[in-house]
Amino acid sequence: MHMTDITDHISRRFNDDLEDLRNSVLKMGGLVESQLSKAISAIVSGDSELGLKVANDDYKVNDMEVTIDEECSRILATRAPAAGDLRLIVAIIKTITDLERIGDEAEKIGFLASKLARMDRPADSYRELKNLGNHVLQMVRDAMNAFARLDVDASMNVVREDEHVDDEYDAITRQGITFMMEDPRSIKRVMNVTWAARALERIGDHAKNICEYTIYMVEGRDVRHTAIADVRKETS
């Protein structure tokens, strides 16, 4: 119970460092979620200005990735963490890469939103895209919540959810092909919609990756292989 003052002090500083790191990953997650949420609203409401704002704000996500990455390297170099602490750092390094990619996809969707805003809008005002977007946004949120709560079950659910996202993406593609065959004038618009759907589908994959890192972080190396093998079996 009673450690000497110095070790207590050092380990507390280390704990604080790790806690700060975890908090900043979640902060980055929050920023990415809000970017994605804005990108989806921009497409659905045909708000070109909002779309461009999302695209212009992507640098914030990139900046955060660089900062967190540096902090991870610093901790690895100065603290030489082991076991659970090391897994946390490794999982964070991987997680922020995927978060940054999600940010890039949101940027892409923002651009597409500003392009689509200038074209004719279909009667359903991109309902399928809205559904897919909200579904994927919920996945990213659940992935970050599972990361915050170290919740393996919730992570598994997100991994399973990715299958439905793939189905929805296929449905949008098929619908797009039908539109293009019926009316070649719609090709330009449908192509952009398909690109946006594709970006959303990729975001689903990144959310799934983040959940796999969370499972790795919580369950440890040995369980990770079996757990991911199980997960793979369930999703394929």
């Binding site: 979640l26 929050g30 979620e33 704002k53």
Partner: protein, 430 residues
């Protein structure tokens, strides 16, 4: 009859004295006392051991009845135990009722400690933002509620107002979050669903924008015909005055519609979409030029620090200056003066427009930036104002992270200060 410890003391002394007496009869009083003392000790030891084992096994059969000291100890013990159980039950019931009522609240409530870690949350908090009382205990609240706006609010440590964020559960819903500090560095986070209010505001904004837009084209037609009628030499003199009045009212309406449109543009578009350097000195000079040579206007004096410049939207800053200046001129008699200054101060940069006009009563100050609000509703409306100027100023300033400060004394004059934050400051303009 002696009770409690007195009876016990009397009994023990009696026993010891009896032992001594019996020993004395046989010639060994000390031996008698010793035997009596040993017997008492043995009996006490037995009782202590019995009581201890009764405490362990919770079987107090031996101590339940009787008048002895041990029975009395037990009855006191039982009495206290019952009483504390009763208290416990009462508190548990109270706690359950408090929990039930907080859970029944439609607003989310989360108790946070000094480090913003979740301590307790009610059911609505779970429904509104997904924070679970048990699962998230000890978790930083911004780890779950990750909206950048909320994180900024939390780290700003200024909890005088709240923050509006999108619901993390339902994409189309909006929430109002407010932190209330209390006790020793504890915080209560209140979360309210404001989707309805938000939709109403959106509907109102859209209505104003659409209505002003729709009014513009008929007004153009009316003004156009009135203009040509006014210049038509065939119109009789008795029609000159009515037509002239219709023309001026139509112009007034055009101004109102134009200002409403400007206002709804400021409200509906994203904040400060263009962040180019603004040459404030040049804008002030051109605003002043409008009043040069016009009779019956107050004298305008200008103090400009050309070293101070900010980033922002030039046309919006221009409209801020123009509106403040025209207000000041309208409310200042021709023989006094209006002062315009632009300088740096400890907060950032400040644009001050002060006059020595009629002034504004204190009770009107908070409502001054409302649309169509008039201090003196009976005052002539022919002074050219439509009642939207300060609303436009306020919105334009909000978009530049600036604030409007109004100081005024009746019959002495008013002072309007626009404070731009340090972050907007860009120094000398090339």
């Amino acid at each position: 009859m002696l009770t409690g410890w007195q009876a016990y003391l009397a009994k023990t002394c009696g026993l010891l004295i009896a032992g001594t007496l019996i020993g004395w009869l046989y010639g060994y009083p000390l031996l008698g006392l010793l035997i009596a003392a040993l017997l008492t000790l043995a009996w006490q030891l037995r009782m202590v051991i019995a009581f201890e084992s009764a405490l362990r096994t919770k079987n107090f059969e031996e101590f339940r009845f009787g008048e002895g000291i041990w029975q009395q100890i037990y009855s006191r013990f039982r009495h206290q135990k019952n009483r504390s159980r009763k208290y416990k039950q009462r508190y548990r019931k109270l706690l359950r009722e408090i929990q039930d009522s907080t859970n029944a609240l439609p607003d989310g409530g989360i108790v946070l400690n000094a480090a913003f870690e979740v301590f307790i949350a009610n059911k609505s908090a779970n429904a509104l933002v997904g924070i679970h009382s048990k699962k998230d205990r000890g978790q930083r609240v911004d780890n779950i509620l990750r909206d950048p706006k909320f994180i900024k609010y939390l780290s700003g440590m200024d909890f005088a107002s709240g923050v509006e964020i999108r619901s993390p559960i339902k994409q189309d819903n909006w929430l109002f979050c407010r932190l209330v500090p209390y006790g020793a560095k504890q915080h209560l986070l209140l979360i309210r669903d404001i989707t309805e209010r938000f939709k109403l505001t959106t509907t109102r904004r859209e209505f104003i924008a659409n209505a002003s837009h729709e009014l513009r084209s008929p007004l153009t037609v009316i003004s156009g015909y009135l203009d040509s009628l006014a210049e038509d030499p065939g119109i009789g003199d008795e029609w000159r005055r009515p037509i002239e009045q219709m023309r001026s009212q139509a112009n007034r309406m055009t101004t109102i519609v134009a200002e409403l449109l400007e206002l709804s543009r400021l409200e509906n578009t994203l904040a400060a979409s263009s962040n180019t350097p603004v040459d404030v000195a040049a804008l002030v000079a051109s605003a002043k030029k409008h009043y040069v040579g016009i009779e019956n206007t107050a004298n305008i004096t200008v103090h400009i620090d050309t070293q101070v410049n900010i980033s922002g939207n030039s046309s919006e800053i221009e409209s801020v200056i123009a509106n403040l200046l025209s207000n000041a001129i309208r409310h200042t008699p021709a023989d006094s003066s209006v002062r315009l200054s632009w300088k740096r101060d400890e907060f950032g940069a400040a644009l001050t427009v002060s006059d020595s006009g009629v002034g504004i009563a204190e009770e009107h100050l908070p409502r001054l930036t409302e649309r169509f609000f008039r201090v003196d509703s009976g005052r002539s409306r022919d002074d050219g104002g439509v009642g939207l100027g300060l609303a436009i100023v306020k919105h334009a300033l909000v978009r530049h992270d600036a604030t409007l400060e109004i100081n005024s004394t009746l019959n002495v004059g008013s002072e309007f200060i626009c404070r731009f934050p340090e972050s907007r400051f860009i120094g000398e303009f090339e």
